[in-house]
Amino acid sequence: MSPATQAMQKDDTQNPAMLWVKDGEALWSKPAANGKSCASCHNDAPKSMKGIAATYPAFDTQSRRPIHLSERINLCRKNKQDASPLPPEHQDLLSMESYVALQSRGMSIAPHRDKRMSEFFTRGEKHYKQRIGQLDLSCAQCHDDNPGKRLAGTPIPQAHPTGYPIYRLEWQGMGSLQRRIRNCMSGVRAEPFAFNSTEMAELETYLASRAAGMAMDAPAVRP
């Protein structure tokens, strides 16, 4: 990442992701039709949401699989606010997620080492190492075997999801880890995993464990 991009992320007065954080902050206490807001149950986000994003994806007892933070927000909307779920990459969803993720900034990524998670982790690792698409490449071949080398002009990162949701300069806006993964998958000419699919949750579970202990820098800016 260039010094300019790093500087953009480090200074909140310049970080464009903070526009979404501000929106998320406003949505936090905005009541739904049934009168309930996030704040009705969770009170003050800087206290109640501290460290929460660093533990996702987390096991959901109802669906019996790990779910992403945005899926958790949607579950709250459905179960507590009688509101319809927001579609993947909806700006309000990204805003809420950014606001919650900000409360874990600087904290270590700490996925639950739950026994129920292990099979998903194992399958996620398999996805990561599986060669896919017409270009027949796996995540691992670039991100484990060749990080730091240049794919055309672009250095290959180590694929640690420390900053999601991110403001990606390429997107000129915010997006989720799922969107980013789908980009790579279409890049190798593979059919991407669907948003919120079990496969996606598995891959994200593996990536989170792989990044365990690294500091969260969400909401990050990436090229």
């Binding site: 310049q14 464009p16 903070m18 526009l19 979404w20 501000k22 806006g173």
Partner: protein, 110 residues
């Protein structure tokens, strides 16, 4: 309304040069870019920005800008002004499709 982030030092000494930073949510659609269907997306730009400083004695525009398609999405502008007196800074963005937004920030000058 678009979200805006305004950074102005809340306190300043009289005569001090302060930095003002404004960031606003806007796609700044260039009018040159094809959408997913291959057709060119219509232009949607913020065209003008101004900062008016009411310091109790005068109320005038201390900085203004004309923006074009080359300004990045969610535009950031940073500029300077002399803290002449306590009062308010009023920011105005205007653009295509009737876009108009105003924000204010207070400043205390001693």
């Amino acid at each position: 309304m678009a979200r805006a982030l305004i950074t102005v030092p809340p306190n300043a000494k009289r005569g001090e040069v302060i930095e003002v930073r404004v960031l606003i949510q806007h796609p700044m659609e260039t009018g040159y870019r094809p959408g997913s269907d291959g057709r060119i997306l219509p232009r949607d730009l913020i065209r003008k920005f101004s900062c008016r400083y009411d310091d109790g004695k005068s109320n005038e525009i201390v900085f203004s800008a004309e923006l074009y398609a080359a300004i990045a999405a969610n535009p950031l502008i940073s500029f300077h002004t002399v803290a002449t007196g306590s009062g308010t800074l009023t920011f105005l963005w205007e653009g295509d499709n009737g876009f108009m937004q105003s924000e204010m920030a207070a400043i205390k000058v001693s």
